[in-house]
């Protein structure tokens, strides 16, 4: 796959690992940060624009926590309700990008429960205010997953650089480690 001078090919695992680290630096616990990594990666692979969307909140910890940590929690709570009642409505406290929700939605569908309300042609940056859980799931194909793993994801270099810079905060300085442990 050809990229321009302003683009870079990125493997899906790199997206996950970098987003995970950024989320940890932002204060999320391991489990929550892993979920953010999965959501953003899944959204980037299947919908696009997710990493750029995530990078835009790196300097806004309140939005990062509200959208990327609490958003999925609301969805999960609704799944429990839907299991008991047959369906449930999800109303997010703030408009939430699919970058923050995508993998969780797919997990719910993977358990056989449909999630309704994702607009046609949505990207990872598309925000939703409400979703509906219940009804049959519609599993989709593997084409995007396979393509991303084989060819990489085309990403804007500046976006990727910003992600890398933010993720470096997760690392501990070698000089500090050497001083402590020898």
């Amino acid at each position: 796959m050809k990229v321009t001078d302003h683009e870079v090919l990125v493997a899906p695992r790199e997206v996950h690992d970098l987003v995970f680290r950024c989320a940890r630096v932002a204060g999320l616990d391991v489990g929550a940060a892993d979920r953010v990594g999965r959501n953003v990666t899944f959204a980037e692979v299947h919908l696009g624009e997710a990493v750029n969307c995530f990078v835009s909140v790196l300097n806004d910890s309140v939005r990062l926590l509200t959208e990327y940590d609490l958003g999925p929690d609301v969805l999960v709570s609704a799944e429990v309700e839907a299991k008991n009642a047959g369906s449930a409505s999800v109303v997010f406290g703030v408009p939430t990008p699919l970058a923050a929700l995508a993998s969780v939605i797919a997990d719910i569908e993977g358990r056989g429960i449909g999630v309704d309300g994702v607009p046609e042609g949505a990207t990872g940056a598309t925000v939703v205010e409400r979703l509906q859980i219940g009804g049959p799931a519609l599993p989709a194909g593997l084409a995007n997953t396979t393509r991303a793993a084989r060819d990489g994801l085309v990403m804007n270099s500046e976006t990727f650089d910003a992600l890398n810079v933010a993720a470096r905060e997760f690392l501990v300085a070698e000089s500090v480690l050497d001083e402590i442990e020898g």
């Binding site: 870079v8 090919l9 990125v10 493997a11 899906p12 695992r13 790199e14 996950h16 940890r24 630096v25 616990d29 391991v30 489990g31 929550a32 892993d34 899944f42 692979v45 299947h46 919908l47 940590d69 929690d73 999960v76 709570s77 799944e79 429990v80 009642a85 047959g86 369906s87 409505s89 993998s103 797919a106 997990d107 358990r111 449909g114 309704d116 994702v118 607009p119 042609g121 949505a122 409400r130 509906q132 219940g134 519609l138 599993p139 989709a140 194909g141 593997l142 995007n144 997953t145 793993a149 084989r150 060819d151 990489g152 997760f170 690392l171 501990v172 300085a173 480690l177 402590i180 442990e181």
Partner: protein, 600 residues
């Protein structure tokens, strides 16, 4: 299911956009498949014949593992022979000191691959085995296909940069290493003078070059493992890395012979006789392996499970005169190999010389049980009573008798690591799962202060994992989640106080810090997925799980340099590139040092 009441509304259902079903997988050995796992079927078919996880996953047993017929170096070369691969050096442009470029190629019949490697020299004082080094004498990549000028230009820039470079999906593996400071120059001098090496001088140094890492699977922009097509020749975990390693080892021979020719002219000779195969590829391994072992339970299960399936088959197979004779030969061969090795300190492991009496005992035990009804099982049962070094030695020797279908066994290593906890599960269900899968946590003393002596963090220097005493550094959200034993134990304590009928989502709403434990509990649904150890404990010994992983790779000659890192050798005795052909056999392991004096 009822239709939705609000939101998209009933009318939206028929034309609802398809949401992509989640199949993405992150792990090194993950594949884009549903939860197909033929290994579980193979293990189920041998239920009752397999060794229990309570023994196999003990740290000291993992720390006694040895390379086997199903180690990745062995399976790779058997595949190469079975499928008629050919391999050769296609280009080498080195100066008299061995600095320059080399390209090797392997043709699998379906596809060609290139190992492109850049060599230089660095001052002896700059040599280090640590992954954090920023200068290497050898830097190479395995490329899917041939290498054109445009790609070569890019590789010249990016490959020597290693972790700082940027690759793309044409690249399958990235590696680097150094010359053996002790032996490279000596070997060059000897060949240049027309002599073969002196076995006593070489000792049991089994390598010319020493690698430190074989990156792959999406690192630095390389192709993800899940991106290999179903019919890709390297669609088996670690196959690409071991093809690269095999060629890396070939480079060592070529460099020494090249430098010897440059130095000795017509006087120079090439390695001959047993020396042509004796040297393998060295490897230095640090803490980087440990987090992997504690974060990929299904991968670990596959590595252990394949071995245990093979062992169960052999233990219960009917012994034939040919089989008995073969095992006798392997025991003798192993003894001869270790007898030609050194007595260097390998604490906490046994060194080569210390393994000689172990093999003498194995030999004697075999004589005693060889004519019994199930002699292979009897030998194993005897070995287990002697302790892990003996039991795992016998396991590897017995597996040499296994004649598994390599097409099937390659597939057994493929696992789908995708798992997602069901938030609607009840507390009672999760408690039950925790008891079933992690009952052994009670034996680890996780309520003691020493249970959380260490954090694991990632260094900013080439991202090497390190462990740090907790009281010396507060990681502030920068710890690596290898502390699953502690997390799951604490999760269990929280669940004990909750209503059994409550949903687990409700528990996580109050205690979001336990999400990782729940996800791990869900993913850890395999027999051999968990080392029964706590890597954060004060007395944790990284060498044990490291040795297990290195043995699965096919490495031997374990020489610890501290509690945290060790040197090993792989492909020692393996066929060279030019020897690959229908006559190449799989019995190349455990070579004897050429002309060595053997302990009698």
């Amino acid at each position: 299911m009822h239709p939705p009441q609000v939101g998209g509304g009933c009318s939206a259902w028929p034309n609802r956009p398809r949401f992509p079903f989640r199949i993405y997988a992150f792990g090194v050995s993950s594949i884009a498949l549903d939860n197909v796992d033929p290994l579980q079927a193979e293990m189920a078919a041998r239920d009752g014949l397999l060794r229990p996880a309570s023994y196999v996953m003990r740290p000291d047993v993992l720390g006694a593992a040895r390379l086997s017929r199903y180690s990745f170096s062995r399976t790779m070369l058997r595949r190469a022979v079975a499928d008629g691969w050919t391999a050769k050096r296609v280009r080498q442009d080195l100066d008299d000191e061995g600095r320059g470029e080399s390209i090797y190629a392997v043709d699998t019949g379906k596809q060609r691959f290139s190992f492109v490697v850049f060599t230089t020299t660095i001052d002896e004082s700059a040599h280090t085995d640590r992954v954090i080094a920023d200068r290497w004498e050898v830097a190479g990549v395995l490329v899917d296909g041939d290498v054109d000028d445009e790609l070569l230009t890019m590789l010249r820039i990016e490959v020597p940069e290693q972790e700082s470079g940027r690759l793309d999906p044409r690249i399958l593996s990235l590696t680097r290493g150094n010359r053996s400071v002790r032996f490279f120059g000596y070997l060059v001098d000897e060949l240049a003078s027309g002599r073969q090496p002196d076995p006593e001088r070489v000792g049991d140094a089994g390598y010319i070059l020493r690698s430190t890492a074989f990156y792959a699977n999406g690192k630095f922009g390389m192709r993800s493992f899940a991106g290999y097509s179903d019919d890709h020749p390297f669609r088996v975990p670690y196959r690409a890395q071991f093809v690269a390693a095999w060629m890396f080892r070939e480079l060592g021979y070529d460099m020494v012979e090249h430098c010897a020719r440059a130095k000795g002219g017509d006087t120079a000779v090439r390695f001959d006789g047993a020396w042509r195969r004796y040297f393998g590829l060295g490897n230095a391994t640090g803490l980087g392996l440990v987090p992997y072992a504690f974060k990929h339970p299904r991968v670990l299960d596959a590595w252990v499970g394949v071995r245990e399936v093979a062992l169960a088959d052999v233990r219960w197979q009917e012994a034939t005169p040919a089989g008995r004779s073969l095992l006798h030969d392997w025991i003798a061969r192993a003894r001869e190999h270790f007898a030609s090795g050194s007595g260097d300190d390998c604490t906490p492991f046994l060194n080569s010389q210390a393994l000689v009496p172990v093999l003498d005992n194995v030999s004697e035990a075999w004589v005693n049980v060889a004519e019994s009804e199930h002699p292979y099982d009897a030998l194993y049962l005897w070995a287990e009573k002697q302790g892990p070094e003996t039991s795992e030695m016998v396991v590897s020797l017995l597996i040499e008798l296994h004649d598994g279908d390599d097409d099937l066994f390659d597939q057994l290593f493929l696992v789908n690591e995708q798992a997602s906890a069901d938030p609607t599960a009840s507390v009672a269900d999760i408690r039950s799962l925790l008891d079933e899968r992690f009952g052994w946590l009670d034996e680890l003393g996780l309520d003691e202060l020493t249970a959380e002596a260490f954090w694991w963090v990632v260094s900013d220097n080439t991202e090497e994992p390190r462990r740090v005493r907790r009281h010396r550094l507060a990681p502030e959200g920068r710890d690596v989640a290898v502390d699953m034993a502690l997390r799951l134990w604490r999760f269990g304590q929280v669940l004990a106080d909750r209503d059994p009928g409550e949903s687990i989502a409700s528990v996580l709403a109050d205690h979001p810090e336990h999400r990782a434990a729940l996800e791990r509990l869900t993913a850890s649904d395999r027999r051999y997925g968990e080392p029964r150890d706590n890597p954060c404990a004060a007395d944790y010994l990284p060498l044990q799980v490291q040795r297990f992983q290195l043995a699965q790779y096919g490495m031997d000659e374990f020489k610890p340099k501290s509690t945290d890192w060790l040197r090993v050798t792989l492909f020692q005795g393996a066929p060279r590139l030019s020897e690959l052909g229908p006559a190449t056999t799989d019995d190349w392991v455990l070579p004897v040092r050429p002309s060595a004096s053997v302990v009698v």
